[in-house]
Symmetry: C2
Subunit: 190 residues, 2 copies
Amino acid sequence: MEITEDIIIKVALRLFSKKGYAATSIRDIASETNLTSSALYYYVESKKHLLLKIIEKGLNKLIMDAKNGLIHLRDPKDQLKELIRIHVINHGQEQLAALVIDTEYRSLDGEDRQKIRDMRREYEEIWLEVLRQGKNEGVFTYEDVRLATYALMEMCTGVAHWYVEGGRFTIEEIANQYKELGYRMVASLK
Amino acid sequence: MEITEDIIIKVALRLFSKKGYAATSIRDIASETNLTSSALYYYVESKKHLLLKIIEKGLNKLIMDAKNGLIHLRDPKDQLKELIRIHVINHGQEQLAALVIDTEYRSLDGEDRQKIRDMRREYEEIWLEVLRQGKNEGVFTYEDVRLATYALMEMCTGVAHWYVEGGRFTIEEIANQYKELGYRMVASLK
DNA sequence: GTCTATAGGAAGATAGAC
DNA sequence: GTCTATCTTCCTATAGAC
């Protein structure tokens, strides 16, 4: 990957997350990268392709981090807390990407849309499996696994909506509190 | 309010939530209401004003429902469960409005933006007060009230992202499960 | 209230020079 | 690799007839 392309992606990410994909023009992106809009097309196939790459990159990182985080853990309680930690930290550190992934999915169509849908499902499946296993072992209690999973995931996803770097808590401190809140949500009482 | 205006708002709401505000044109809205774009301007001041009215209406309903729901409740546990119930049912029944409120806030500017920000803060304050009171009375446990509140609210808000009418659970059933999950998240162990 | 016509500009993307 | 110039289409919004 070339250096100019990285800058373009970074600028596009910032503008897409701030103004939205549709409201951001190729000329906006070009202007902030000190290129003309035609020079930009030397690096980028289309505006839609740029969005796709941003979303793919972000989701890939999240999935990889989650899978790596679980490798050495066997206890569902530890696994859940690790998923919460990774999800929260991702949505803080990669806040702009997280916002774009969540809100601009609708701007894709056809096989692009399907591909992102599949990646989201893959990530969701990681959580579902941990929650199922925890119930089987009797450490988790909930009525429906999908509902509990969505509740947990959306709670963590929300961090991207309010987190500000340099605020009262670091993202690690937030992750720690969320680990406790999330675990209590589904924990079986001893 | 006139009947044509209601239809316009309904159509705009559907299109804004599906394609996004910026990607929806006045012509799109006119076309689906069987009006020309100029006829539409007889009812609507501007596209931005239409968005503002949609967001205001949706937030107003949510705030009113929350306030009314709490009137006769004194126990923080009951109050929290009622807030969860109202928020979840609102985000299921008014799903499209909820999505527009959450994602198109950025499309407003100036005093419009400030007004919506204030309304969101007013709603948030209702939750914060219940959570604070619960901790004072010893029935809730958490490290930071704002963090716990955001976690609870975002968990419930997320329902708008995945709920489908006619799915495995009615919105009331979902609300019931969320009441339990949310309460356990902050409940003090006896 | 609803129409046709149109102003005035901005959008995505490309051609071709350097 | 980057530019100027431009094609074509779409946009919000208005003027003025009926």
